[in-house]
């Protein structure tokens, strides 16, 4: 079967594309909208904002989440902030600069037109959120405050203490609950999507498992939106919420939606280091800390002195030394690898030697403890609770951890996947961040997709597509439901000897070591041997207590791990073929003498989209060429 990718980027000047698109797109007249039904799977930033907006427009929306409430989605954990090109601080920001920074930050592996649209709507997002009552931080004059984030030389990040994601999600949740109250959204909590239903080549519904009763449920609609977040949890340890998973996206992949750039994974430089085998997740310390914290290690190898006993002269503020113009604010991938290099050199700190210091001594001396507390109080408290160390008194210990996945379901300019009627929003898609995401731009993207992009592109689809009347008795629904039940039953009947977590940790270890911060051809080949072995053992030897007709958390986890075991292999496969270093994908074979990534634009200036070909068959890799007409391809330098 031959697959093609059409990005459907509209013509015209980059700054006019989105305006032109909106003008030319098909509209659905207001009274017809209520005849269309839309399923929105996931109620994080992307899903909640999309559900709310579509319901306001008049569509019949069904919002499905596996959480007990839309307010709990992983988006709630985002700490640092959200970008917008408002230029309130008057430091030279503009839509174009945000666009430029994001393309460059993504290491020239994103689609220019999408990124420009993102930058364009960024300002609307802030207006919208403020109008909703999101309590962003303000200055004494009562106007909005900004701070700076990695990869940018302007202050364009809006924030609400260290709880920006929470406040934005609560804002979107409020908007959504308003529509639930008005009867325009049917909220379906505690159901997990386990399959996509495709009828006549178009996405027409999903099959869910009611997590409390264990029953499978059919949902039918005219279009399906996947807003289910990223797949960092494939690594077992990541900064993602524990329920975050790739299941919805993966099952769409198995039904024909292409999965793009699975190897692009972001490793965040500032997380609290692992403390032992029991570790269940990693906690991020927001990147915003790097505004005031200085990163350092000892100049000496194996230095066991307490941080306070190491004199200035023995400290190596390596980020400031190597990247003088960005200093502690160098982008995430660059800072993460620098930390890894320091630890590999034997200069890591703490008991494990797998950490570097993030020191606030100078900031506290300069601004006073109160100012620092006001900015980062809850982060400091969080650190204190976890480590039992007081960061006002001694430097934090930090280490990189898996944090974000740039890869995801492939979408065109309309955010539509390769299956018509299946749209993908937020972290679940591959769209705007290329090979590396800049801080504070995931929140921006999720909300841009939900509030501003999907309303236009969905109406274009519905207004220009003929949809047959179907019912939930359609054979495609029965077949998908049957597939789901078979899979679930297979899991509960394995009755082996290893727990789901044990198997997941095994996968995580392979991924972290071989498809983590530094990747090599040999390592990836190894991973491609190891992962199928773990997968095989999983299906025969996993132990799931209880049965499927019950609230069964182990069974839920098992389903997700089974998908990670397939996705993990695709990640390694993708990483192996992408024989270059770019953004979060660092192939050790391709680096400068001082350890910087070396891209190969001639061969790899494309997005790689993978198509599923069936059980046991190799997937097909199709390239979407990326052309850079506005931002000139250049070596990304933060020196």
């Amino acid at each position: 079967m031959s697959h093609t990718l059409d990005s459907k980027v509209p013509g015209g000047d980059i700054a006019q594309k989105w305006t032109n698109y909106k003008f030319n797109s098909k509209l659905v007249n207001p009274s017809n909208k209520r005849k269309f039904s839309v399923i929105c799977v996931g109620t994080g930033l992307a899903g909640a904002s999309a559900s709310a907006t579509l319901a306001e427009l008049g569509y019949k929306v069904k919002a499905i989440t596996m959480h007990d409430s839309p307010r709990r989605a992983h988006s709630i954990a985002a700490q640092g902030g959200i970008n917008a090109a408002k230029n309130y601080p008057n430091d030279g920001d503009s839509v174009y600069r945000l666009f430029y920074d994001t393309v460059k930050g993504g290491d020239f592996r994103s689609r220019e037109a999408n990124v420009h649209r993102l930058a364009e709507v960024s300002n609307n997002i802030i207006d919208q959120c403020v109008a909703q009552g999101v309590p962003f931080a303000r200055d004494y004059g009562g106007l909005l405050a900004n701070r700076s984030f990695g990869g940018a030389q302007v202050s364009r990040t809006f924030y609400a203490r260290g709880q920006t994601g929470q406040q934005l999600l609560i804002g979107a949740y409020h908007a959504m609950m308003r529509m639930v109250g008005a009867g325009k959204i049917q909220l379906v909590p505690r159901q997990e999507m386990l399959d996509l239903v495709v009828v006549d080549g178009k996405a027409r519904g999903v099959i869910c498992r009611d997590l409390i009763t264990g029953e499978t449920v059919r949902h039918m609609a005219d279009a399906v939106l996947i807003c289910t977040g990223g797949y960092s949890n494939a690594y077992y340890l990541s900064t993602s919420a524990r329920m975050s998973n790739a299941t919805a996206a993966w099952r769409c992949y198995r039904r024909g939606a292409a999965f793009a750039n699975p190897c692009y994974v972001q490793i965040h430089p500032t997380c609290i280091p692992v403390s032992g085998d029991h570790q269940s997740k990693l906690t991020l310390m927001s990147e915003s800390l790097r505004n005031d914290g200085r990163v350092w290690v000892s100049k000496l190898k194996g230095d066991t002195r307490a941080p306070g006993d190491i004199p200035e002269s023995d400290r190596d503020y390596y980020l400031e030394r190597i990247y003088p113009s960005f200093g502690n604010l160098a982008p995430r991938d660059v800072s993460s690898r620098a930390a890894k290099r320091m630890c590999d050199e034997g200069r890591g700190v703490g008991r494990s030697g797998l950490a570097v210091y993030l020191d606030f001594k100078d900031a506290i001396a300069r601004d006073g403890e109160n100012v620092v507390r006001e900015k980062y109080g809850n982060l400091f408290d969080m650190y204190h609770h976890i480590t039992d160390e007081n960061p006002y008194k001694m430097p934090m210990r930090i280490y990189p951890a898996v944090h974000y996945t740039m890869g995801g379901l492939w979408v065109d300019y309309n955010l539509m996947s390769t299956i018509p009627g299946l749209f993908v929003l937020g972290e679940a898609n591959f769209s705007d961040h290329g090979a590396n995401r800049l801080g504070a731009s995931a929140l921006m993207q999720g909300l841009a997709d939900g509030y501003f992009v999907i309303p236009a592109t969905l109406s274009n689809y519905l207004g220009s597509t003929k949809l047959e009347k179907i019912s939930a008795d359609h054979e495609a629904f029965s077949a998908a439901e049957n597939d789901v039940q078979v899979r679930v039953n297979k899991l509960v009947s394995a009755n082996g000897s290893k727990t789901v977590d044990e198997m997941h940790k095994e996968l995580g270890k392979v991924l972290w070591e071989r498809v983590g911060m530094g990747r090599t051809e040999a390592g990836l080949k190894e991973a491609l041997k190891e992962i199928p072995k773990i997968r095989e053992e999983f299906w025969s030897n996993v132990k799931i207590p209880g049965d499927s007709k019950d609230y069964n958390l182990e069974l839920e986890k098992a389903g997700r791990v089974s998908d990670f075991l397939e996705l993990g292999e695709l990640m390694a496969r993708d990483a192996l073929i992408r024989d270059e270093s770019c953004g979060g994908h660092f192939r050790e074979e391709h680096q400068t003498p001082d350890g910087e990534a070396v891209r190969n634009d001639e061969k790899f200036s494309h997005a790689a989209a993978w198509f599923y070909e069936g059980e046991g068959k190799d997937p097909t890799r199709v390239e979407e060429n990326l052309s850079f007409e506005n931002v000139k391809l250049a070596v990304r330098s933060y020196k």
């Binding site: 009552g133 962003f136 609770h385």
Partner: protein
């Protein structure tokens, strides 16, 4: 245990966990006691439960159901009552932020779900808090559609009010206030939501309707009344203050007086 060296090598603990087991909403529940060892102080409370559950699964027993997600104190999922305290004995944190260093070798830890009629038990420690969502759906928002609102800076807001609104908006919807309150009252949660909007100019147009409708729904959900005992404030992981309940009381009485229809 352990020697007296400078590095504590063997600082692991053995604990008795007395956990509430209940198969479903209608079934009767009871306490079950489990002994676990090799618990180290660096573990979080939920990691201790993970260890226990792994052990139960290996022994062919049903693991303890408990809900959790972010494990960093922000999603509000992980509420449970530990030794009589919602989110455990320490103030200002959630269960997932509680660490085992709070406990001693040999301790017995009693773990129960929140007990409130409006939060039915689903299984073991998992509860249904959808009542909170229904309350929010009755007015916990500003009624504006997505579109082109005025520029964000067209509306200056006094820093102090913005901060107070943020204090209230920090609520994570965990339900510890309800769990801790001897009356199972949701006033702190609702008060925080009402305050968030009452303090901001954006909330003014719907100020009257909002508080009346949200309180009506709160009562309809069957939450108890507040008798100002303050247990909620002490249990709240986000340290939402009683000031928010007072503000809601005031907002409510004012709204009841000025509303034009009965």
């Amino acid at each position: 245990m352990g020697n007296h060296g400078t590095i504590q090598k063997d600082h692991s603990m053995t604990l008795n966990v007395q956990a509430w087991r209940q198969a479903g909403p209608q079934q009767k529940g009871k306490f079950e006691t489990y002994k676990i060892d090799n618990i180290i102080p660096e573990m979080s409370f939920l990691e201790m439960l993970d260890v226990l559950n792994q052990k139960l699964i290996k022994e062919g027993l049903d693991p303890i159901s408990f809900d959790h997600d972010c494990r960093e104190g922000i999603c509000g999922t992980c509420l449970m009552v530990i030794n009589g305290d919602a989110h455990g004995p320490e103030r200002g944190i959630t269960t997932c932020q509680l660490h085992m260093r709070t406990f001693k070798d040999g301790d017995t830890i009693v773990i129960e779900p929140a007990r409130a009629k409006s939060f039915p038990i689903i299984k073991d420690l998992s509860i249904d808090r959808s009542a909170f969502d229904r309350i929010v759906s009755k007015g916990g928002y500003v009624s504006i559609n997505t579109g082109n609102p005025q520029d964000a800076n067209a509306l200056p807001i006094a820093k102090e009010n913005a901060e107070l609104a943020m204090d209230a908006a920090a609520c994570i919807g965990c339900g510890a206030c309800v769990a801790a309150c001897k009356n199972a009252s949701a006033m702190l949660f609702v008060g925080a939501k009402v305050s968030h909007f009452a303090l901001l100019p954006q909330g003014q147009p719907e100020r009257t309707e909002r508080v009346l409708n949200m309180v009506e729904q709160m009562d309809a959900e069957g939450f108890g009344n507040c008798t100002n005992t303050g247990a909620c404030e002490a249990a709240c992981p986000k340290e939402i203050t009683l000031e928010n309940i007072a503000r809601m009381n005031r907002e409510f009485m004012k709204a009841s007086l000025v509303k034009r229809k009965c």
